[in-house]
Symmetry: C2
Subunit: 109 residues, 2 copies
């Protein structure tokens, strides 16, 4: 998991991506995932990212965004569209996306 | 990760629990976690649960609920309160909770 993002006060938005990988011996996936994380962080309205994947290939990744418009633009970004297509064709057995409005947050350290 | 919950149409709510474990050699944690999952599933407004934890002890768990009142009742449930206390005292180095309203969802299979 990446470090907890340093988030602003709600409301903001979370895109929850729950997935099962097809083939974990695929270096191209790791490269693309790193590229997409780096690219997302440069997008308008990006607030943060966290991700966990277990040894069985099950994962939950969450990106945080200022508003729905930022999410829409990121989903349509050209390189990201290509990554999404690779994801469906090669990397993911299945995935589910939830777009949610964060109402409140609290933490323990 | 547990199986993807079979969710109703949005809107509903997600409680995102991002955490780092202290000590993963603790069987009591596994027992309590299973008990809390089972107990949560009997609560009013419970819709589903998914969770991933990696070998380094980093995890994201998401429970889905019908409304904020269901989340409030579950947070105050007596055995769950005790589990939360154990969590802070023994099991988690840190955690962060996001309560979010799911606006839309889509999936790929």
């Amino acid at each position: 998991m990446t470090r907890q993002p340093d988030l602003t006060e709600p409301p903001y938005y979370a895109v929850i991506f729950s997935s099962l990988r097809n083939d974990q011996d695929d270096d191209a996936y790791q490269v693309m995932a790193a590229q997409m994380q780096a690219l997302a962080s440069t997008q308008q309205g990006y607030l943060g990212f966290e991700s966990v994947r277990d040894a069985a290939g099950k994962g939950i990744s969450i990106s945080y965004w200022k508003d729905l418009e930022s999410i829409r633009l990121w989903k349509q970004q050209l390189q990201h569209q290509q990554a999404q297509q690779f994801g469906r064709e090669k990397w993911y057995q299945n995935y589910r996306v939830h777009v949610a409005r964060v109402e409140r947050t609290y933490e323990f350290e």
